[in-house]
Amino acid sequence: MWRWLHPYAKPEATYRLVDKLLPWFAGLTLISLLVGMVWGLAFAPADYQQGDSYRIIYIHVPAAIFSMGAYFGMAICGAIALIWQIKTAEWALPAIAPVGAAMTAIALFTGAIWGKPMWGTWWVWDARLTSELILLFLYIGVMALYAAFDDARTGAKAASILAIVGVVNLPIIHYSVEWWNTLHQGATITKFERPSIATSMLWPLLISLLGFMLLTATLVLMRYKNQLLKHELNRPWAQAELALDSRESAEETR
């Protein structure tokens, strides 16, 4: 495995890999999001209690899950950057953090929209809502800390340590609905027993989950590509890549 992973400490090799993967991720994202959203929002049966307003689950749950998933990925990248001192892992932090923060914001926003008709309020200081809000603050903290240093490597190290410390919040978010009796409902699919949701509603949800996972990955890869180019701007390979890109776009306009 090490021999396979080793070349990707070199930014150029990583850039090639990302470049190769990106179209696949983007294409699959488009397909699965389209299928998941259309199936979930238009064709899945309405809920017997909540009517059509439950359909926001197809955006809310995937966004919430991958707001945590992105954070975990960011913390893993931070650990890799700290332990093996790999530059390319450091650059993943600024690539992931804004995407994860956006997912968190989407989860909070759709949750508020869902909460208004169901609970009669936009916001309650419920354990899960609060811990998800803390997650947003943690993302903001990581981004602010990364940006505060003039030297990008020092900033990346500081942000990595903070990201790892913040991981304690993830189990709190996940188990908040079990540890506290709160307004937010319990888990429906992220548990070991049979999912407590009808199969006709489950399938579109799973496809939406896949779509959001791929969407997160695609956005992160796009940002990561830019990070690689930005940090290696003075290297010949990056110059060649940029020259190639500008030539291609010039040909397209012609």
Partner: protein, 224 residues
């Protein structure tokens, strides 16, 4: 010098420095008292309202007072180069920096615990909650000091890091605030508080044991 001797000398140096420059340690406490004075003026002096919001006020003021003292933990040692020397020593850095956490706690956490009955009196907290308030501060403030040390070590090289420290520390403080205030509120209503206090103690044990590792990594990052 063994690691233990080094630990003790770092701690005693910090305490001696604080004794020579008392205002550094006392100012955050006066700030805390003033914040607490502002609330009765702001929300009205009715004892029933004050008693209801007292746990939250005291704990929020404690968090803010902790933030005021954060700069003190490493800034001077960083400026005069002694932090760099500590990094170069063969004694484990994580253990040495835990002395810094302890000195921060002795200078900001412990006075809070001692002051807490006075604060409770000022905010007319029910007498039954006094014990829970002091205990929640005693169990919670070590975690505050440990987290504060993480924040301090991460922002050392920055000239104007204090706003950033608040930004990264306050989210980490939130769980403590939730359990501590819930303990004091339950005590005020005459209910059992063991559960919340046990969780506070668990958070503190976890933070105090693991934070030195993060602090050591942060100090190494800042120094090189």
């Amino acid at each position: 010098m063994t690691a233990m001797q080094l630990w003790r000398s770092v701690l005693s140096k910090d305490l001696r420095l604080a004794a020579r420059r008392r205002s550094d340690a006392i100012n955050p406490l006066i700030f805390l008292l003033m914040v607490i004075t502002l609330f009765p003026l702001g929300v009205g002096p009715g004892p029933d309202i004050l008693a209801r919001i007292a746990p939250g006020i005291i704990w929020v003021a404690a968090l803010l007072a902790t933030l005021l003292g954060v700069d003190r933990i490493f800034k001077d040692d960083y400026a005069d180069g002694s932090l760099e020397q500590l990094c170069l020593l063969p004694q484990p850095l994580a253990f040495t920096v835990s002395a810094k956490m302890v000195s921060h706690w002795l200078l900001s956490g412990l006075p809070l615990v001692i002051l807490s009955p006075l604060l409770a009196l000022l905010l007319s907290l029910p007498t039954s909650a006094y014990g829970a308030l002091s205990l929640s501060l005693l169990l919670g403030t070590p975690a505050l000091s440990a987290l504060a040390a993480i924040g301090a070590s991460l922002t050392l090289p920055l000239q104007r890091g204090s706003a950033l420290i608040s930004l990264i520390l306050l989210p980490l403080f939130i769980p403590l605030l939730i359990f501590a205030t819930s303990a004091v509120e339950s005590a005020g209503m005459g209910m059992a508080v063991h559960g919340q206090l046990a969780i506070l103690a668990a958070i503190s044990v976890l933070t105090v044991t693991l934070a030195p590792l993060a602090v050591a990594a942060g100090v190494r990052m800042s120094v090189n």
